[in-house]
Protein backbone atom coordinates (compact mmCIF):
# COMPACT_ATOMS: atom_id res chain seq x y z
CA UNK A 1 0.00 0.00 0.00
CA UNK A 2 1.37 3.43 -0.93
CA UNK A 3 1.32 6.49 1.32
CA UNK A 4 -1.34 8.10 -0.88
CA UNK A 5 -3.44 4.93 -0.78
CA UNK A 6 -3.16 4.80 2.98
CA UNK A 7 -4.15 8.47 3.27
CA UNK A 8 -7.21 7.91 1.09
CA UNK A 9 -8.18 4.82 3.04
CA UNK A 10 -7.92 6.58 6.41
CA UNK A 11 -9.81 9.63 5.16
CA UNK A 12 -12.64 7.40 3.99
CA UNK A 13 -13.22 5.76 7.37
CA UNK A 14 -16.25 6.86 9.43
CA UNK A 15 -15.48 9.21 12.28
CA UNK A 16 -16.96 9.25 15.72
CA UNK A 17 -19.10 12.15 16.95
CA UNK A 18 -19.86 13.51 20.41
CA UNK A 19 -23.20 12.49 21.90
CA UNK A 20 -26.14 14.76 21.13
CA UNK A 21 -26.87 15.55 24.77
CA UNK A 22 -23.43 17.13 25.13
CA UNK A 23 -24.55 19.92 22.82
CA UNK A 24 -27.50 20.78 25.05
CA UNK A 25 -25.30 20.53 28.12
CA UNK A 26 -22.80 23.00 26.72
CA UNK A 27 -25.35 25.42 25.28
CA UNK A 28 -27.22 25.54 28.57
CA UNK A 29 -24.15 27.27 29.98
CA UNK A 30 -24.03 29.88 27.25
CA UNK A 31 -26.67 32.19 28.76
CA UNK A 32 -24.88 35.35 29.75
CA UNK A 33 -24.75 35.78 33.54
CA UNK A 34 -25.39 39.51 33.37
CA UNK A 35 -27.67 41.50 31.06
CA UNK A 36 -25.87 43.05 28.18
CA UNK A 37 -26.89 46.67 28.90
CA UNK A 38 -25.19 46.69 32.31
CA UNK A 39 -21.84 46.44 30.63
CA UNK A 40 -22.23 50.06 29.43
CA UNK A 41 -22.98 51.38 32.91
CA UNK A 42 -19.34 51.84 33.91
CA UNK A 43 -18.26 53.99 30.94
CA UNK A 44 -21.47 56.07 31.08
CA UNK A 45 -21.06 56.72 34.79
CA UNK A 46 -17.41 57.69 34.32
CA UNK A 47 -18.32 60.11 31.54
CA UNK A 48 -21.06 61.72 33.63
CA UNK A 49 -18.70 62.07 36.59
CA UNK A 50 -16.07 63.68 34.37
CA UNK A 51 -18.59 66.17 32.99
CA UNK A 52 -19.70 67.09 36.50
CA UNK A 53 -16.10 67.66 37.57
CA UNK A 54 -15.48 69.87 34.56
CA UNK A 55 -18.63 71.86 35.33
CA UNK A 56 -17.55 72.35 38.94
CA UNK A 57 -14.11 73.52 37.77
CA UNK A 58 -15.68 75.98 35.39
CA UNK A 59 -17.90 77.42 38.12
CA UNK A 60 -14.93 77.92 40.45
CA UNK A 61 -12.90 79.63 37.74
CA UNK A 62 -15.81 81.83 36.78
CA UNK A 63 -16.48 82.92 40.38
CA UNK A 64 -12.77 83.67 40.93
CA UNK A 65 -12.63 85.85 37.85
CA UNK A 66 -15.50 87.95 39.15
CA UNK A 67 -18.26 86.41 37.14
CA UNK A 68 -20.19 85.35 40.19
CA UNK A 69 -20.13 88.05 42.95
CA UNK A 70 -19.25 87.17 46.50
CA UNK A 71 -21.03 88.97 49.31
CA UNK A 72 -19.90 92.63 49.10
CA UNK A 73 -17.00 93.88 51.19
CA UNK A 74 -17.84 96.27 54.09
CA UNK A 75 -16.58 99.27 52.18
CA UNK A 76 -18.64 98.32 49.16
CA UNK A 77 -21.65 97.76 51.34
CA UNK A 78 -21.23 101.21 52.90
CA UNK A 79 -20.76 102.76 49.49
CA UNK A 80 -23.82 101.00 48.12
CA UNK A 81 -25.99 101.85 51.09
CA UNK A 82 -28.41 104.68 50.78
CA UNK A 83 -28.99 107.45 53.34
CA UNK A 84 -29.13 106.18 56.89
CA UNK A 85 -32.56 105.68 58.37
CA UNK A 86 -33.61 107.10 61.72
CA UNK A 87 -33.18 103.74 63.35
CA UNK A 88 -29.63 103.45 62.08
CA UNK A 89 -28.80 106.96 63.26
CA UNK A 90 -30.20 106.08 66.67
CA UNK A 91 -28.11 102.97 66.69
CA UNK A 92 -24.96 104.95 65.97
CA UNK A 93 -25.75 107.39 68.75
CA UNK A 94 -26.25 104.61 71.19
CA UNK A 95 -22.94 103.10 70.14
CA UNK A 96 -21.22 106.42 70.74
CA UNK A 97 -22.93 106.82 74.14
CA UNK A 98 -21.68 103.39 75.15
CA UNK A 99 -18.17 104.42 74.17
CA UNK A 100 -17.88 101.62 71.66
CA UNK A 101 -15.59 102.30 68.74
CA UNK A 102 -18.14 103.24 66.16
CA UNK A 103 -15.78 102.82 63.25
CA UNK A 104 -14.97 99.35 64.32
CA UNK A 105 -18.62 98.46 64.69
CA UNK A 106 -19.36 99.89 61.26
CA UNK A 107 -16.67 97.76 59.71
CA UNK A 108 -18.62 94.72 60.66
CA UNK A 109 -21.52 94.65 58.28
CA UNK A 110 -22.77 91.47 59.84
CA UNK A 111 -23.53 93.31 63.04
CA UNK A 112 -27.31 93.43 63.09
CA UNK A 113 -29.36 95.89 65.15
CA UNK A 114 -30.62 93.01 67.31
CA UNK A 115 -27.09 91.95 68.09
CA UNK A 116 -26.14 95.48 68.88
CA UNK A 117 -29.12 96.00 71.16
CA UNK A 118 -28.41 92.82 73.03
CA UNK A 119 -24.81 93.88 73.46
CA UNK A 120 -25.87 97.30 74.64
CA UNK A 121 -28.33 95.94 77.21
CA UNK A 122 -25.70 93.59 78.57
CA UNK A 123 -23.19 96.40 78.94
CA UNK A 124 -25.74 98.66 80.55
CA UNK A 125 -26.65 95.96 83.04
CA UNK A 126 -23.00 95.44 83.84
CA UNK A 127 -22.55 99.19 84.31
CA UNK A 128 -25.54 99.29 86.68
CA UNK A 129 -24.31 96.30 88.60
CA UNK A 130 -20.78 97.73 88.85
Amino acid sequence: MTDEGLEVAIRGLPRCEPRARLRERILSHSIAPTPRHTSAFGPTFALAALLMLLLADWLVLRSQSGGIPYSPSPQAAVAQAGPASREEIGLMRDLAALGLPLRLAMRHPSLQPETYLELRNRMLNEADGG
Binding site: L6, L13, E17, P18, L22, S30
Partner: protein, 186 residues
Protein backbone atom coordinates in the same frame (compact mmCIF):
# COMPACT_ATOMS: atom_id res chain seq x y z
CA UNK B 1 2.63 17.09 -0.60
CA UNK B 2 2.21 20.37 1.30
CA UNK B 3 1.62 23.60 -0.56
CA UNK B 4 2.74 26.94 0.81
CA UNK B 5 -0.62 28.61 0.23
CA UNK B 6 -2.06 30.73 3.03
CA UNK B 7 -3.33 28.87 6.04
CA UNK B 8 -6.95 27.80 5.86
CA UNK B 9 -7.31 28.81 9.50
CA UNK B 10 -6.42 32.38 8.70
CA UNK B 11 -8.46 32.47 5.52
CA UNK B 12 -11.60 30.87 6.88
CA UNK B 13 -11.56 31.40 10.61
CA UNK B 14 -15.31 31.19 11.03
CA UNK B 15 -18.07 28.86 9.88
CA UNK B 16 -20.25 30.20 7.11
CA UNK B 17 -23.20 31.58 9.15
CA UNK B 18 -20.79 33.71 11.18
CA UNK B 19 -18.51 34.79 8.36
CA UNK B 20 -18.45 38.51 7.72
CA UNK B 21 -19.83 39.59 11.06
CA UNK B 22 -18.52 40.01 14.56
CA UNK B 23 -18.97 36.89 16.64
CA UNK B 24 -19.84 37.00 20.29
CA UNK B 25 -18.80 34.00 22.32
CA UNK B 26 -21.40 35.14 24.87
CA UNK B 27 -24.38 34.72 22.56
CA UNK B 28 -26.13 31.37 22.63
CA UNK B 29 -26.88 31.49 18.90
CA UNK B 30 -23.24 32.10 18.00
CA UNK B 31 -22.02 29.44 20.39
CA UNK B 32 -24.45 26.99 18.78
CA UNK B 33 -23.03 27.73 15.33
CA UNK B 34 -19.46 27.46 16.58
CA UNK B 35 -20.36 24.16 18.23
CA UNK B 36 -21.90 22.77 15.04
CA UNK B 37 -18.85 23.81 13.06
CA UNK B 38 -16.03 22.68 15.32
CA UNK B 39 -17.23 20.42 18.14
CA UNK B 40 -16.92 17.18 16.19
CA UNK B 41 -13.40 17.97 15.00
CA UNK B 42 -12.26 19.00 18.45
CA UNK B 43 -13.92 15.95 19.98
CA UNK B 44 -12.13 13.59 17.58
CA UNK B 45 -8.83 15.29 18.29
CA UNK B 46 -9.46 14.96 22.02
CA UNK B 47 -10.39 11.31 21.73
CA UNK B 48 -7.19 10.71 19.78
CA UNK B 49 -5.18 12.21 22.62
CA UNK B 50 -7.19 10.86 25.53
CA UNK B 51 -8.45 7.55 24.19
CA UNK B 52 -11.63 7.81 26.23
CA UNK B 53 -15.00 9.14 24.96
CA UNK B 54 -16.21 10.32 28.38
CA UNK B 55 -12.99 12.17 29.13
CA UNK B 56 -13.07 13.68 25.64
CA UNK B 57 -16.62 14.96 26.16
CA UNK B 58 -15.74 16.45 29.53
CA UNK B 59 -12.70 18.13 28.00
CA UNK B 60 -14.81 19.45 25.12
CA UNK B 61 -17.25 20.95 27.59
CA UNK B 62 -14.40 22.61 29.49
CA UNK B 63 -13.07 24.10 26.27
CA UNK B 64 -16.42 25.61 25.30
CA UNK B 65 -16.98 26.92 28.81
CA UNK B 66 -13.54 28.52 28.58
CA UNK B 67 -14.55 30.18 25.32
CA UNK B 68 -17.76 31.50 26.87
CA UNK B 69 -15.96 32.79 29.94
CA UNK B 70 -13.55 34.86 27.91
CA UNK B 71 -13.85 38.60 28.57
CA UNK B 72 -16.06 40.35 26.03
CA UNK B 73 -13.32 42.76 25.07
CA UNK B 74 -10.86 40.04 24.11
CA UNK B 75 -11.20 39.20 20.46
CA UNK B 76 -10.20 35.89 18.94
CA UNK B 77 -8.20 36.28 15.80
CA UNK B 78 -8.47 32.68 14.79
CA UNK B 79 -11.21 30.66 16.39
CA UNK B 80 -10.41 27.24 14.97
CA UNK B 81 -6.72 27.46 15.88
CA UNK B 82 -7.71 28.67 19.32
CA UNK B 83 -10.06 25.72 19.83
CA UNK B 84 -7.50 23.13 18.73
CA UNK B 85 -4.85 24.73 20.88
CA UNK B 86 -7.24 24.76 23.84
CA UNK B 87 -7.99 21.09 23.17
CA UNK B 88 -4.29 20.29 23.22
CA UNK B 89 -3.84 22.04 26.56
CA UNK B 90 -6.99 20.55 28.05
CA UNK B 91 -5.89 17.06 27.02
CA UNK B 92 -2.60 17.57 28.85
CA UNK B 93 -4.49 18.62 31.99
CA UNK B 94 -6.79 15.58 31.74
CA UNK B 95 -3.93 13.16 31.16
CA UNK B 96 -2.09 14.53 34.18
CA UNK B 97 -5.19 14.10 36.29
CA UNK B 98 -5.69 10.51 35.04
CA UNK B 99 -2.08 9.72 35.77
CA UNK B 100 -2.36 11.19 39.27
CA UNK B 101 -5.44 9.09 40.00
CA UNK B 102 -3.96 6.07 38.20
CA UNK B 103 -6.93 5.89 35.86
CA UNK B 104 -6.16 4.02 32.68
CA UNK B 105 -8.05 5.58 29.80
CA UNK B 106 -9.86 3.35 27.33
CA UNK B 107 -7.66 3.23 24.31
CA UNK B 108 -9.96 4.15 21.43
CA UNK B 109 -9.39 6.25 18.35
CA UNK B 110 -11.46 8.62 16.27
CA UNK B 111 -12.65 5.92 13.86
CA UNK B 112 -16.27 4.91 14.48
CA UNK B 113 -15.91 1.15 14.10
CA UNK B 114 -19.60 0.52 14.74
CA UNK B 115 -20.49 2.66 11.72
CA UNK B 116 -18.25 0.77 9.28
CA UNK B 117 -19.77 -0.99 6.32
CA UNK B 118 -18.98 -4.66 6.03
CA UNK B 119 -16.39 -4.23 3.26
CA UNK B 120 -14.61 -1.39 5.13
CA UNK B 121 -14.77 -3.02 8.50
CA UNK B 122 -11.62 -5.09 8.25
CA UNK B 123 -9.56 -2.10 7.09
CA UNK B 124 -11.06 0.12 9.78
CA UNK B 125 -10.18 -2.37 12.51
CA UNK B 126 -6.62 -2.70 11.18
CA UNK B 127 -6.14 1.08 10.89
CA UNK B 128 -7.59 1.58 14.35
CA UNK B 129 -5.18 -1.00 15.78
CA UNK B 130 -2.25 0.57 13.92
CA UNK B 131 -3.17 4.07 15.08
CA UNK B 132 -3.37 2.96 18.68
CA UNK B 133 0.10 1.49 18.37
CA UNK B 134 1.55 4.88 17.41
CA UNK B 135 3.13 7.24 19.94
CA UNK B 136 0.75 10.05 20.94
CA UNK B 137 2.79 12.76 19.23
CA UNK B 138 2.59 10.91 15.90
CA UNK B 139 -1.03 9.86 16.36
CA UNK B 140 -2.17 13.43 16.95
CA UNK B 141 -0.45 14.61 13.78
CA UNK B 142 -2.22 11.90 11.80
CA UNK B 143 -5.51 12.84 13.46
CA UNK B 144 -5.10 16.51 12.60
CA UNK B 145 -3.86 15.88 9.08
CA UNK B 146 -6.07 13.03 7.89
CA UNK B 147 -8.93 13.31 10.35
CA UNK B 148 -9.41 17.08 10.31
CA UNK B 149 -7.57 18.13 7.14
CA UNK B 150 -5.32 20.70 8.78
CA UNK B 151 -2.22 21.84 6.91
CA UNK B 152 1.24 21.34 8.38
CA UNK B 153 1.35 25.04 9.14
CA UNK B 154 -1.83 24.77 11.15
CA UNK B 155 -0.67 21.61 12.89
CA UNK B 156 2.56 23.38 13.84
CA UNK B 157 0.51 26.27 15.19
CA UNK B 158 -1.71 23.98 17.26
CA UNK B 159 1.11 21.86 18.66
CA UNK B 160 3.53 24.78 18.99
CA UNK B 161 6.23 23.02 17.01
CA UNK B 162 8.08 23.92 13.81
CA UNK B 163 6.32 23.14 10.56
CA UNK B 164 9.08 20.77 9.48
CA UNK B 165 8.78 18.85 12.73
CA UNK B 166 5.07 18.41 12.08
CA UNK B 167 5.79 17.16 8.57
CA UNK B 168 8.49 14.73 9.70
CA UNK B 169 6.25 13.37 12.47
CA UNK B 170 3.56 12.80 9.87
CA UNK B 171 5.88 10.95 7.51
CA UNK B 172 7.21 8.79 10.34
CA UNK B 173 3.69 8.02 11.51
CA UNK B 174 2.57 7.12 8.01
CA UNK B 175 5.55 4.79 7.52
CA UNK B 176 4.88 3.13 10.84
CA UNK B 177 1.19 2.75 10.08
CA UNK B 178 1.96 1.16 6.75
CA UNK B 179 4.44 -1.21 8.37
CA UNK B 180 1.91 -2.28 10.98
CA UNK B 181 -0.80 -2.75 8.37
CA UNK B 182 1.47 -4.74 6.08
CA UNK B 183 2.69 -6.94 8.89
CA UNK B 184 -0.94 -7.60 9.75
CA UNK B 185 -1.76 -8.46 6.17
CA UNK B 186 1.12 -10.90 5.75
Amino acid sequence: MESDEPSAIGALPLPFPLKGRRVSTHETADIAVIYEAYASSIYRYLITLLGNPDEAEDALQEIFLGVMRRPRRERLRDLRAYLFRAAHNQAIVTLRRCKRHEEMPTNVCWIALEACKSDDCELAIDVDRALRALPTEQREVIALKLGEELTFREIAQVLDIPKNTAASRYRLALARLRAVLESGES
